[in-house]
């Protein structure tokens, strides 16, 4: 709650500075006037700041709070106390990506301040790496997926910091499908094992919940960027543009992003192994009664698995293709 308020406070301050200096807050006016104000100084309490940089800094604080970036990230795993379908919608696909959308939408401001772009890149890359390391050691099924969300948001943010906004948005779209699949799959597992969320008390569910198992495997493969699945198309391009930037922060984000990809694969496989493949570790009475969820849940998983496999391939040219005006 407090962390979100810090982010909101930053966003409000940013909007207030825009209103004070531009006398308007509509996108068209602000973006049209920005090139004229690139060298303008903003004075506050006898301190002088570059106007565009200070606006972008506060907008970025708003994005950090909303998209659970390093420093303001702990609210996201804690929010996993809520119902799983809520997590699938709000904490994976829609709300947490608002920060990434904010950066992409205000790109005409960020593009005039290289220092802020560097800050966005470094914070995003550190989040991608740090959240992956934390996800490695979690035992709660939903918390592992929550930290993976945090990590993937880091990839999106540093893609925006490298001025490849469309690539960040492409990963946002892809991530929404496979992460919703993973969350709903996790909900199906938790339902099957009498609301148990600790992966150490699961195991051996492969034969008991085969449909959920196959859905979770496909979702995990899409998340780790397995070739020709959805996650592969966007994550690969993000890391390519990071290296292709040929700057210090570009190489920094490439290294952290690549190590983050390794860690993502590690904890995703760990999740599948501990839940489905290892020997049963839970109570016999619970494991024996595990069953696949009702057909309504299976249909929703089936509807999500199709884009989790195909959307990357089919949407690539539309969103990040050369010549696309997306």
């Amino acid at each position: 709650m407090v962390l979100n308020r810090i982010g909101d406070f930053g966003l409000v301050i940013g909007i207030l500075i825009i209103f004070v200096e531009y006398r308007a807050v509509d996108y068209a006016t602000v973006f049209a006037v920005t090139p004229i104000l690139t060298n303008k100084v903003f004075s506050f309490l006898s301190f002088n700041f570059d106007l565009i940089s200070i606006i972008c800094f506060f907008l970025f604080i708003g994005a950090v709070g909303k998209s659970a970036q390093l420093g303001l990230h702990t609210w996201l795993p804690d929010a996993m106390e809520g119902p799983t379908p809520v997590s699938a919608l709000i904490h994976a696909a829609t709300m947490v990506t608002a920060g990434v959308f904010l950066i992409a939408r205000t790109s005409p401001l960020f593009e005039y301040t290289s220092s802020m772009l560097s800050l966005v890149t470094v914070v995003g890359a550190c989040t991608a790496f740090f959240a992956a390391t934390v996800g490695l050691l979690q035992n709660d099924l939903k918390r592992v997926i929550a930290y993976s969300t945090c990590s993937q948001l880091g990839y999106m943010v540093f893609a925006c910091g490298l001025s490849n906004y469309s690539v960040g948005v492409f990963h946002l779209v892809n991530h929404a499908f496979f992460k919703a699949l993973l969350f709903l799959g996790a909900g199906s597992i938790i339902h099957a094992v009498a609301d148990e969320q600790d992966m150490r008390k699961m195991g051996g569910l492969k034969k008991l919940v085969p449909f959920t198992y196959s859905m979770m495997v496909i979702g995990s493969l899409a998340l780790i960027g397995f070739p020709f699945l959805t996650g592969f198309y966007s994550k690969d391009v993000i890391l390519e543009v990071a290296y292709g930037k040929y700057t210090l922060e570009g190489h920094f984000s490439y290294i952290l992003g690549t190590v983050g990809a390794f860690l993502t694969a590690f904890y995703s496989t760990r999740l599948v192994y501990l839940t489905f493949l290892c020997r049963p570790n839970g109570y016999k009475s619970v494991i024996c009664k595990a069953y696949d969820s009702s057909y309504q849940i299976c249909i929703s998983l089936l509807l999500l698995v199709i884009p989790s496999v195909l959307i990357g391939f089919y949407a690539k040219d539309m969103i990040i293709g050369f010549g696309s005006d997306f």
Partner: protein, 65 residues
């Protein structure tokens, strides 16, 4: 979305060395394989690591808020 001309690098990134393009995929596959093998055949090693002094410190560091 707007990108300043001097910040555009999508075309440049198409021409980076091939190894840097496939390195993330290689590491991803390596990570998945390593995880599977470690948890299948080296779970004793993981328990030992977790119960060591360094392992406990790492575990507590990453699990505290």
């Amino acid at each position: 979305m707007f990108t300043a001309t001097e910040n555009m690098n999508r075309v440049d990134s198409e021409f980076i060395f091939h190894i840097y393009k496939i390195l993330p995929v290689i590491l991803s596959l390596l990570g998945a394989t390593l995880s599977f093998l470690l948890y299948s055949f080296g779970s004793g090693l993981l328990v030992q690591l977790k119960l060591s002094v360094l392992g406990k410190k790492i575990y507590h560091f990453f699990n505290k808020k």
